[in-house]
Symmetry: C2
Subunit: 501 residues, 2 copies
């Protein structure tokens, strides 16, 4: 129950006594005590946050709503917001979300027939800002892929990108104000699913009077949404692009996201999710991002990019460690001693990735959305267990696992029917049967350790087994791992362009 | 400098005010605030630790030495200790370790010729207790591999296993008392290398009057030590067994160990390493072990073992979440709603692994030894930069990188000379030239993501390139990943038995 509170009291009452007794009984000579800049950085960040918010804490009568944290101060003039005033049914909840906002941006021009729309689904932490706009000229997260003449050609298509519900960039999420209480939802926010995210997007499409998408396009979690869109609304999705995604989150991907949630939730600042009137769990976010970054790139890339190189040491760097650990000794390639703080370039890279992210994104959004990814599973029994009412004309097209058969012809000569398919493949094929008529591009990257190439093959195999004759499947080499979809305009961009044309 | 201290003051002075202001201004109704047992567990553990140590804190005059933490209370009656009263030169330090203890256990009988000795090197966190003994009948960490008639046959061999220096199971490490101060070294302990660990072991061998090892055997970090033993003392090592190790830590392995150190060092209890008179960083240790466990096993194993199964919920489990997150809804395979705390079996498995380890091992030992692993690099320039004086008769046998050539004959038909060797392979071959005359078994596992199979091939290739005609190389399939060496008695045990006979 209130162990956390008890602990906090303990921390306040008992721990200082320990420290006191400690500093009284055994004070290590300060000149002899090593410094750890990588650890001090957390405290420095905390002090800076406190200082930057000092005025707020003086205005106690304004504290009941509380200002939004720095990372969750979106500028609503740079994107559109659709407010859906009606309840949104949820997959894992009998109580719907009472209402929601969805932030979106658009590029290109909607055709008079409203038939040139591409909906772009984002990965975990991205905003609706997929590419620069007049209202927000900053480069978007997929800037290289969206624009006139680019892979997603805005001379031809009307492109929409939304911030997912559960996010913190303008769409309703845990940091949003719950109308009933006037306070941020925090962890009172309901668990959401990828299907819920997509349902919210289709309410936006309804609002925009767009009946059918030319294509539903997504990478990473966006690929899950892209598949979910086809499953929920097969008659409203013309083509599907699924890049570095999955139709069934694997236990190893769950493990890697679990590790991130665990470090985040262990940060005392997280406070069971109720930190919006205090300090955000910036240390936990930094640590979580460091772990995430390991899963986004690949060992082969780091071999090439960093190898075993050490960070460049400032000439006056005497603070790394003041004592034993910095004794002057020879050290591979450089005449200095190793340190316990980041020392190899790969370490400083991860440290930097964590530092630059830790105040950019809402911790609760990370927790809720990463959980939604874990829960994603398109095998038939998993889908049947969900609280989802699909309004699909062709329910009869769905197969039972026993009915699903390996499809006779393979769309791609480079990818024959699987030799050793996982036991659940028929069940996945049965679950994905509603997508049998939708041309689908499945693209994966061999160096991706988060959404492995086996999972890409699985998506393609399940679609083919479900009877989909129009599966385009590509496997990319290269060393960029999961992040390839952000980088490789030549190959990822080329495949998308070819598939959309 | 004292940012950490400043932060601690801030935490004590400012943060409570925030909480106060928070709880005054916006108190979420307690019946509406979700509970998180996985987070409460940290506080509960802390309370339990405080309670178990309460008497100590009352005895302030005894506080200058402080009792050892629970995980570092080795029982010296269950192992032997060799005290080396002379300084041990260190790789990265001009100041030697003034003296050291090394804990060890033995199995089997030393032959009159003292020529049947096998030295077993441990992985990161293991003790000298590799197998049960009369003094300590508990199963050892390699119980299935050591004993009469087993892969390492104690009817034939006299087997020694030590706790490495830097460790916390009886050998000198950061938790040991520094004689000059009468206090634990903590992070005043010097950075150590794998070579330092091996040097200490050879002082033990000198003490035991064992000139030459029949074999030096190690897995994981133990494999690094095994190779280092051959490099430091080629005339004293008869055979080398290197299982799931490396001769050059890769940036991706460094990344995964960095993530563990980072979460550990961010735990406020870590206190820059000076926690021995306070509470250990048990939360950081749990989080670090969770990350480590991900690298020790493999996705394919988890697919088979856990799949997407959910944990079994106690029938009366109403505490998982008291509000939104536990609303009654259908959920894959089970009629309950998902939770933000561990929910899938893979999550509860990782949680359990972390929980059961977090008070077993010293956090500073983990930091120092994992750093030693990162620093391990047998390429010639890296070795030349070290502060190591090898007393080797055949220094002339060493090759320059340009002299090293792919060896003409390959020992194993299954492993021809590499097609695309890494650029540093000649440099690694040159560095490993002192091992050219030592028969070596190199064994790796294809599902190992920490010490990848590419690194196993690298060790074998470098040895062959250095002119070693007696390299036995095995690559195992199977799903157990890095931990295979703890599990697979049939294949790992068989290869060892065959190689040693």
């Amino acid at each position: 129950m209130s162990l956390i509170r008890a602990s906090r009291l303990l921390r306040l009452s008992t721990t200082p006594a320990l420290r006191l007794s400690s500093s009284k009984a055994c004070p290590p000579p300060s000149q002899d005590k090593p410094n750890f800049p990588c650890v001090d950085a957390h405290a420095a960040r905390e002090s800076k946050l406190i200082a930057s918010r000092a005025p707020r804490f003086e205005v106690t009568d304004n504290a009941d709503t509380g200002p939004e944290p720095a990372y969750a101060r979106p500028n609503p003039t740079t994107y559109h917001t659709y407010h859906h005033p009606h309840p949104l049914p949820l997959t894992y909840s009998t109580t719907p979300l009472p209402a929601f906002d969805i932030a979106y941006e658009t590029w290109g021009t909607l055709s008079p027939e409203r038939d040139n729309v591409i909906l772009i689904h984002t990965g975990l932490s991205a905003s609706s800002h997929a590419a620069s706009t007049p209202a927000n000229p900053a480069p978007g997260w997929w800037e290289k892929f969206i624009g006139p003449g680019k892979a997603i050609d805005t001379n031809q298509f009307f492109v929409i990108c939304t911030n997912v519900i559960g996010g913190c960039y303008g769409s309703t999420g845990p940091s949003s104000i719950e109308k009933a209480t006037g306070k941020p939802w925090a962890t009172r926010f309901p668990i959401i699913s990828v299907f819920d995210m997509v349902n919210a997007q289709f309410h936006l499409l309804d609002h925009l009077k767009i009946h059918k998408l030319y294509a539903s396009v997504g990478c990473s979690m966006g690929a899950m949404q892209s598949l979910a869109a086809g499953w929920l609304h097969p008659d409203r999705v013309g083509k599907i692009v699924s890049i570095s995604g999955t139709a069934r989150s694997s236990p190893s991907a769950v493990a890697m996201r679990f590790a991130q949630r665990a470090v985040l939730m262990a940060d005392p600042n997280w406070n069971n999710g109720f930190y919006y009137d205090g300090l955000p769990p910036h240390t936990g976010m930094k640590l979580a991002r460091q772990i995430a970054t390991i899963t986004y790139r690949s060992g082969p890339e780091w071999d090439l990019r960093f190898g075993r190189q050490l960070r460049t040491l400032p000439s006056d760097a005497t603070t790394q460690s003041s004592s034993a650990a910095s004794m002057d000794a020879s050290y591979p390639s450089q005449s200095r001693s190793p340190a316990l703080c980041p020392d190899f370039l790969i370490e400083t890279y991860l440290d930097h990735q964590g530092e630059s992210f830790c105040l950019k994104y809402d911790a609760n959004s990370l927790i809720y959305i990463s959980k939604a990814m874990d829960l994603f599973d398109m095998t038939l029994p998993a889908l049947q267990a969900l609280n989802i009412r699909r309004r699909v004309p062709h329910q009869s097209a769905e197969l039972s696992p026993s009915q699903a058969q390996p499809h006779k012809t393979s769309h791609s000569k480079s990818h024959p029917p699987p030799v050793n398919p996982p036991a659940y493949l028929p069940s996945l094929a049965a679950g994905m049967a509603p997508l049998a008529k939708i041309p689908t591009l499945v693209l994966g990257v061999q160096s991706d350790i988060l959404f492995t190439v086996e999972q890409q093959r699985e998506v393609a195999d399940a679609l083919r087994m479900a009877g989909n004759d129009s599966v385009s499947y590509y496997e990319l080499g290269g060393v960029w791992g999961h992040d390839t979809f952000l980088i490789d305009t030549l190959n990822v961009g080329g495949a998308i362009r070819g598939f959309l044309s």
